[in-house]
């Protein structure tokens, strides 16, 4: 068991070190920041639609979505770097050196959480600067906890695909589904205002529960919290198997 954590620690250390040598590690925050500005800036009147009941206001409503987008995109980008590690041969060296290869997955995941904290902080700062009101009574730790879990799930998903494909072409294969999951949710208005096919899809989307609970935390009105944590845990469990499957395939390919 010792070697499992040793490997994880070494991989995480290297990845994190790489962040500090290249400011491009903040790239996952680019689109979330931009969507936040476009939606929270341009769509505030949407908050006036009859039936739109969100106590913290429209900027906060959009901030939560942007935050979750920033951390899940951080996970996706970790997938990109795993894929490029495989392409340039670094991963092969890692596989040879690691006594416990599952530690590799944990290592990348730890590094991804570090990155998520930074991209998340960036989005939060922007939201505060652009005037997101801070009302009393919100549960910031609940929000952070859900964001971390979302990041882990996205990282495991990306890692699985990256190890399965082992080329940079994994990029769009990782990004597109994550984008879809993010957008096929109550992005602009709460679930009760959605109608038609998007309502059906959003209700089936596991991300909707996480998004709703996170918004609840921010408004100081937690909703469906146990459900959101249960769904996150289940996602992480399933995606862990997925990542391990990817690792096995990579081992087989040598």
């Amino acid at each position: 068991m010792g070697s499992f954590f040793q490997v994880a620690w070494a991989v995480a250390g290297r990845q994190t070190y790489k962040y500090f040598t290249n400011p491009a590690f903040l790239a996952p925050a680019l689109f979330p920041l931009f969507f936040f500005v476009a939606f929270a800036g341009g769509l505030t009147r949407v908050g006036d639609i009859p039936g739109f009941n969100y106590a913290a206001g429209y900027i906060a409503f959009q901030y939560v979505w942007a935050l979750l987008q920033a951390v899940t995109m951080g996970g996706a980008f970790t997938g990109f770097s795993i894929a490029s590690d495989f392409e340039n041969g670094f991963a092969r060296r890692l596989m040879l050196a690691a006594s416990n290869r599952y530690g590799i997955i944990l290592g990348y995941t730890l590094a991804s959480i570090v990155r998520a904290f930074m991209t998340g902080a960036l989005v939060t700062v922007l939201a505060l600067v652009t005037g997101m009101p801070i009302t009393g009574g919100f549960d910031f730790f609940g929000l952070i906890a859900l964001a971390v879990l979302a990041n882990i799930a996205a990282t495991l998903f990306g890692a699985g695909i990256a190890m399965l494909l082992r080329t940079q072409q994994a990029g769009p294969v990782i990004r597109t589904p994550i984008f879809l999951v993010l957008f096929l949710a109550p992005v602009f208005v709460p679930l009760n205002l959605l109608t038609g096919w998007i309502e059906t899809v959003a209700r089936l989307n596991p991300f909707t529960a996480i998004l709703d609970a996170s918004r609840g935390f921010l408004a100081g009105d937690p909703q469906n919290v146990p459900q959101a944590f249960a769904i996150s845990a289940a996602l992480i469990l399933i995606l862990s198997f997925w990542a391990v499957f990817g690792l096995r395939q990579a081992e087989k390919a040598g």
Partner: protein, 258 residues
Amino acid sequence: MTGSSFLVQVVALARRSTVRTLRQPAVLISALLFPMMFFSINASGLDAASRLPGFPDAPYLDFAFAFPLVQASLFGAITAGSDLARDIENGFFDRLSLTPMRPAALLSGMLTGVVALGLIQGVVFLAFGLLMGVTISSGIPGMLVIVALTVLVALAFGGLGAMLAIRTGSVEAVESAFPLFFVAIFMSSINLPRNLIEQDWFRFIATVNPISYLVEGIRSLVITGWDAQALLLGFGCAAAIVVLAISGAAASMRTRVA
């Protein structure tokens, strides 16, 4: 030195840029698929916005239909721009420069490819929109005008992409401009009419952003029918960008080809 006629050169280069676009189905499919996807998601997700007082008397679906048409031109611009930048990077451009090719022919050839892609996109999106239930108030003549305006918008963005490519000569530079174009589209009246944008700074940006007028030109044909002012502004803005971008690109081209 007789040189070849300008027209022959344009045809040869246009054929090349069209052929290479058609032979990259992945590019073609993403240029068609992503705007339609965004359109479907946005139109449904923001459907409730049509209940806002002051919103035009039309379903949000009709209101949002300008989105894929404008967004599509962005794809065309980036594709054409990065193709040209790649030519410069890998030396294909040098090879062409060694022929008596006129720089304007290269530019026109490339832009013909952009127009071809814009035409395909315009027609496909129109068909998709009608299938989704969009009603075009200006009828069939309006549809033709919509496609024409879409092509002009594609040409405008394509010209900007070409200018960027010739100035920088770098694929990376062109591709990293992608988010900027994207930002420019969203910071307009694309999601809500300008009178419903509450934040002053955003409404100001949307008002000075020429993309708002491209969007509103197309939108007027969908929602209101024939609105001379909106059409004039739409076609005017598109034409102005076309002229500026292409003359800018041509000027940069002259410094690149000795």
